[in-house]
């Protein structure tokens, strides 16, 4: 498992993994951009590796503070945006729909 490879403090992050992340996140990074971002990400990961020193045994994770859960409201219909208003900012639209390039 790659996740176990944290010996350099940077999670084993290399160019191939940066390319994978760029694809996953649709960042479209060029080769030069990947080469530039790699040492920056490695430095940040090495710094956040400090987390591994914390004794978190028996500690529950916190996803959100405030203590609210299952916040409900009445199921009432309210006025919303018209289709034109909702689509007004789209760079390409047609017949009340978003127009996008073909999936290939």
């Amino acid at each position: 498992m790659v996740g176990a490879d944290r010996e350099d403090g940077a999670g084993g992050l290399d160019l191939a993994l940066v390319a994978h992340l760029s694809r996953l996140a649709r960042l479209g990074l060029t080769d030069a951009e990947m080469a530039a971002i790699l040492p920056q990400l490695r430095a940040i990961l090495a710094a956040v590796d400090r987390l591994q020193e914390a004794d978190v045994s028996g500690v529950d994770p916190t996803a959100q503070v405030g203590g609210l859960y299952d916040v409900m409201r009445d199921d009432q219909v309210e006025p919303g945006l018209s289709a034109d208003e909702a689509l007004a900012n789209a760079p390409s639209r047609e017949a009340g729909l978003l127009r996008v390039p073909a999936i290939q």
């Binding site: 940040i44 956040v48 503070v65 390039p101």
Partner: protein
């Protein structure tokens, strides 16, 4: 002397006595912004037509209503991450260039309800990611006290505009210190409300579990007036607290006699500049003289807070910014050969270096195989940071510290080193992880640069922050100082 030098209550008296109208006040703010902002870069755009329309409405309310709201007729600015209906809102990013939101953020609507007059949208780091405003895709903002220095970030435009008297008050957002830090660097008051105290509806999200909207203003009272307008439950944001906001104004005059104030030992350790330490120690003496008891406390998990933040915040960024696809808003790449290419081209051209770094980092820490080691562990550390605060607030009423280890640094000084930039927020971001209340208040100067003192209060403890902040403000007696070049 400009009308913009006055506090909100002073302006309110003038407006009610018909010494000047809201239209005249708005004209003055717009004239200052249009003539002086060239050397500051605080505004991404002024909103002259909207301002004058709102000012005319405010003048009618001031003439016709028995008790118009305190903010009626007051010129304000909104950080550009806040949606303003029909007014371009970019978050400081190319990917949203030209975006005109079809609705107002709740905070924008509430200030409009109370008669405030919007004079412009304020520059910020792209999607609020940064501590210097240098990550804005459009322009850097400079510090009004020294044009070779940064205003702090990410709400740098909001802070600089208030300091330079181009707006009476502004809204910013604080995810790891983005209201308090620029407030400290620019010599104004900034409040980070507790998580859930203020609605996030219509706030372009950075890190949803950390983001809060807060005011920047010249005085603690001005900040309180804005906070009282925007705070409180919102049925459009299910994370807002149902607890009543209460009368925050009362806190301004309660003083600190009998309060126990904690000084976190860890906040005074690494990298604190001497000038900052001196100003902070001065504030401590004032608080003691006013009757507060000062005690040293420990927040031992502080050493892990920065690391936890830089896992959790990027993780939420990678998720939140997935919506920036160039399909529904922004210039997009509609001529791209495929849908995948359209996404990649739009995001590659639309995102600056810091946003790319955080999206990549967030994608990484959430990936299968890394999740437990980074994200889950960071969330556990987040619990420890929150427990530290809960423990000390059993013994003290509030915490005080410097807002930042240094005063404003030079433009370009930290842009090549993301970690140095991140460390700027070391004393502010633990409060976001824990969701507690905080404030930065100007306490003095070092080598001509403002220094802020941070007051941290418990969850929903905004009144306590204002109470302590008001005492520091009175003792420091610096809020009427105007940066050279912006006076008169």
């Amino acid at each position: 002397m400009s009308l913009l030098d006055l506090s909100i209550s002073e302006l309110g008296r003038g407006l009610r006595a018909r010494e000047f109208s809201s239209v005249e006040l708005a004209e003055e703010a717009l004239k200052r912004a249009e003539s002086l902002d060239g050397k500051l870069g605080a505004f991404l755009r002024t909103t002259r037509e909207l301002a004058l329309e709102q000012a005319r409405t405010a003048d009618r309310r001031l003439a016709g209503e028995v008790d118009p709201p305190a903010l009626c007729g007051i010129p304000i600015g909104h950080k550009d991450v806040l949606c303003t209906k029909g007014v371009e809102t970019t978050s400081g990013s190319r990917i949203l260039e030209g975006f005109r939101p079809p609705y107002d953020a709740t905070v924008v609507a509430r200030l409009a309800r109370d008669g405030a007059v919007v004079v412009g949208k304020m520059n910020c780091d792209e999607f609020a990611m940064g501590s210097s405003n240098e990550n804005s895709a459009f322009q850097p903002t400079v510090n009004p006290w020294d044009s070779e220095r940064v205003p702090g970030g990410s709400s740098g435009g909001s802070a600089a505009a208030v300091a330079a008297r181009l707006a009476v008050a502004t809204l910013g957002t604080d995810t790891g210190g983005s209201v308090r830090l620029p407030a400290s660097f620019c010599g104004v008051v900034g409040v980070k409300p507790s998580y859930g105290r203020v609605s996030r509806y219509g706030v372009i999200a950075f890190a949803s579990s950390l983001d809060q909207v807060g005011p920047l203003a010249k005085t603690v009272e001005d900040a309180q007036l804005v906070l009282s307008s925007i705070a409180g439950a919102d049925r459009r944001d299910s994370t807002t607290s149902p607890a009543p906001v209460g009368d925050l104004a009362r806190a301004l005059h309660e003083g600190v006699r009998g309060l126990r104030l904690g000084i976190p030992r860890e906040y005074l350790e690494a990298g604190l500049e001497d000038g900052v330490r001196e100003v902070f120690e001065g504030a401590c003496r004032w608080l003691e003289a006013e009757g507060a008891e000062l005690v040293e406390v420990s927040l031992p998990s502080t050493q892990y807070a920065l690391a936890a933040y830089y896992v959790i915040a990027p993780a939420e960024v990678s998720s939140n910014l997935a919506r920036m696809d160039g399909i529904r808003f922004g210039p997009g790449e509609p001529q791209a050969p495929s849908l995948l290419a359209a996404y990649e081209l739009a995001r590659n051209r639309g995102f600056g270096p810091e946003v790319r770094r955080r999206v990549a980092l967030g994608t990484f820490v959430l990936s299968s195989g890394y999740y437990d080691a980074y994200y889950l562990r960071a969330q556990k550390v987040r619990t420890m940071v929150a427990q530290d605060f809960s423990r000390v607030f059993e013994k003290v009423d509030a915490l005080i510290s410097p807002t930042a280890p240094t005063p404003a640094f030079r433009l370009g000084e930290r842009t090549q080193d993301p970690l140095a930039m991140y460390a700027t927020d070391a004393l502010t971001l633990p409060a976001n992880l824990a969701g507690i209340s905080g404030l930065s208040v100007p306490a003095g100067f070092t080598s001509g640069l403002p220094v802020g003192v941070q007051v941290l209060g418990p969850y929903l403890g905004e009144a306590m922050c204002l109470r302590v902040g008001a005492v520091v403000e009175r003792a420091a007696d610096v809020w009427r100082r105007v940066p050279a070049g912006f006076d008169g």
